[in-house]
Amino acid sequence: MQPSRNRLVSEWQKLFGNPIRAFGVVSLLLVIVLAIAPAKNYFSESRHYQKQYLALIHVRSDANTLQRHFHPDIQQIWLPEVGAVDRCTTCHQGLKEASLADVTTQPFRRHPVIPHSAEQFGCVLCHRGQGAATTVAEAHNSALAREEPVLPARYMQSSCGQCHHTALVGTPQLNTGRTMLARNGCVHCHTARLPDGSTMTATDNPPSLIHVADKTTRDWIYAWLKDPLAYAVSATMPNFNLSDEDARDISAFLISNSTPAAGDAAPVVAASSKTPSDPVAGPSLYGESFCSSCHAIQNAAGNVVGGDIGPELTHIGNKVKPEWLQVWLGNPRIYDSNTPMPHYRFTSQQIALLGGFLQAKSDSSLLANVHLEAATAGQIAHGKTLVTDYGCASCHEIRGVKKPDNFGPELSRIGSKQLAELVFLPGMTHTLPDYIAGKIRQPRAFGSGLKMPQYTFTPTQIGALTTALLSYTDRSHNLPAALALPSLPTSNYRPAGNPGRLMEELACQSCHRINGRGGDMAPDLTMEGSSVQRAWLNDFLKNPNTLRPSLIRRMPRFNLTDGERAELTDYMMTAYQSPTIDRDSMPLSGYSAPLVEQGKQLFYSKYACQSCHIIDSNVDKGYIGPTLTQVGSRLNAAWIYAWMKNPQALRSDTVQPNFNMSDEDARALTAFLMSLRGTTRLEAKR
């Protein structure tokens, strides 16, 4: 102890014994302490990258310009209203340099062209990460406390979705993901409250199971529950990986719990199951009725052909009972008052024909291995427990089982979920996007007793869903008023009165959008009354012939009575009018011959309308727009004139370009088009 103490004392004496020496030593220490900060700055990562950047631009032909744009030291974009302090441009010096397009190494790449500027939005608003950090690891990778790492490029479109709630043209991945959240029924179990305060609603239509025993057998339910894809390759119901016993008990409960529907007991046509399927008339009625606009059938090559509004019909004969199918084809609203399927008004012969055709669509092997014994009371009770446990009533209406609230975790802010709250699988990358994608890919892998079923999404679909979910962040809910954008317009428009009931029956809005509500398969009818002539509309409802040669999805014929057609026509002509177009402001006929001739010249030469439209079917071939051979007896002159002046103002999604046409040209073209009343078609026949 003593020797070391002596040594300390002697060292102290050596350094500080003499006042001059002590002064020197203290000065030296002071210099070292003062040098720490400049040294840290000098050896900082950002200076290292800035030196590299200078070396990079030094050899380029526009070195002087680039040098002038270069800023040494720490750079910062401060946006108090967004809460962004972004120092990313300290290292990312070349973001705005168009001439660096060929540079591939980071951090010197040019930023790709986007509609926003960094001065206005900063960096972390879209890229996430820690804007205030000035080291690579802290800025990009930190997941400490509430810090977020940088968002991988593949999910970049989710950032657009934080502010933009309507579909953007440039973000297909985000749009697909959002559509899927509604279309694949995710939001039946998971609540997703949107920043505007509304709640996302599902757009699929899971069938009610109140009267399910009328429609199908217990054997089919069992087989379906075991593997929905075995019945239909396009099935949207996920696989719950049920054991044989559980599927047996659930099917027992559903059948025993079902009550007969009011009209199902009395079939429209008796004993139809014996109707032989007609090999020619059946398929042709299916085709004529344009069933395939909504329903798909898998063909011999394995391709699923047809629409996806209704269920796939490849093996429909295995599923439905013949007597139920008769009633359904007669009037689907007897069984399900909310179905998107129209009431076709088939004759009993047609019902038998179509029923026979559909009943023959079956696969004998599908239910061959299903042998269920009569259900016991215990099995039925267990089935009810399982139905409650798995949350079946989140999607399906089931008698005696209440729809559970918030069955799955809420998704409203899932894009800001903390990593500390998540349980990762061994070997998985610890990031939020990887967690979400992994959970969608294999929901049950994350633990035992999990209830989320197995979906069969492609990697692209999983990417789209993950992108959509990542857009629901804390930030999207707390945007400053200056950045808030209009929310998704919603409409629950339903036509009123007797004609409204008729339109509900024909399910017009399954395909047509009217006043913001309805499908997008067929034209928007919001302004149909201003657009078309009364006589044409009446004829069209009698026998809808397609206006566009290349369409495969078409309007079916509904066998309406004269009275029904008159009622519908009157209603549409009165209720569906444009606020800006007075259809009586221009005459339907009586245009002078020179004006018509002038319009014809303009049509064929100046505006070359024949590239998309057919006027004379011998000469013109254009496939894109509607055929105009009889447009003079279809459209109103005032509508044509307004359309010529600005088509997008009448239908925002039309592909016809705005020609910025003069009033004079528009008037001449209107005169010419109104003169086309089908004469060329007659000539062609001759």
């Binding site: 990778n141 593949r154 043209v169 070359a608 590239s611």
Partner: protein, 244 residues
């Protein structure tokens, strides 16, 4: 300090350029049991996808012997420029002689040339080159607009959902990939045709003007998309100058 720095720089490059924080692919040594003499593309080339995303279809290459029949058990390795990743990066061919990999595009909007290689019996390398296109925001916007407004006439391929109007036109439009013609036109000329129609450059009047329908950024997006997909590839004049 410097090792720390270079380590973090490495991590940074891995993240920022591959576009995605992913664990490095585990390298499993594969031993070929057979050798072919030719490598051909089965499917998956010339695809487009957003930057940083996995392509919708996998890349499938087939190893053939001298008779053109598939060889099972041959080793195919996949290589790509910086930013591209493969899952897996090497594979043995299956019974039909095919090796399959999923391609994730890089973070830059560009044409990526990928190479698949295999060795023949003499250990000589046989290579197959495939081009994939990564669309940035601007090009993606251009693609979407092109599908809406242009493809009905400019793409001769028909599908059940979209029948092409190409055959109905007296003067045939150029496809968007027709680099031999389009590369000769400047950005200003292309913009002018889109904005004012074919007549603007004494070309067909069947091409209507879109300048009152699309805004400036949309027209620029269309041009950016055209430039990226053109074949042979488009070389911006400024870049040639810079390289010299």
């Amino acid at each position: 300090m410097s090792t720390n720095l270079s380590a973090s720089a490495l991590i940074f490059f891995a993240i920022a350029t591959a576009g995605c924080a992913r664990k490095p692919a585990t390298i499993v040594s594969l031993h070929p049991t057979a050798y072919g003499s030719a490598l051909v593309e089965t499917s998956g080339g010339k695809q487009m996808g957003a930057t940083g995303t996995m392509l919708a279809q996998p890349l499938v290459a087939q190893v053939n012997d001298d008779q053109g029949a598939g060889v099972a058990g041959a080793l195919v390795e996949f290589h790509g420029p910086f930013g591209i990743s493969f899952e897996p990066s090497a594979a043995l061919t299956d019974a039909s002689g095919q090796a399959t990999t999923n391609v994730t595009l890089g973070g830059m909007a560009a044409r990526y040339q990928l190479t698949a290689t295999t060795r023949c019996k003499a250990q000589k390398e046989v290579a197959l080159n495939v081009v994939e296109v990564a669309l940035g925001y601007q090009q993606e916007l251009g693609y979407q607009l092109g599908e809406t407004y242009c493809a009905r006439c400019h793409n001769p391929e028909s599908s059940a959902e979209r029948v092409s109007n190409y055959d109905n036109l007296q003067v045939k439009p150029h496809t968007f990939t027709d680099g031999t013609t389009l590369n000769k036109m400047t950005d200003a000329e292309l913009t002018s045709i889109i904005d004012h129609g074919g007549v603007a450059l004494n070309k067909s009047a069947l091409m209507p003007p879109y300048g009152y329908t699309l805004d400036k950024s949309q027209t620029q997006a269309l041009v950016a998309y055209l430039r990226l997909v053109s074949d042979p590839p488009y070389q911006a004049p400024g870049m040639v100058y810079a390289q010299k």
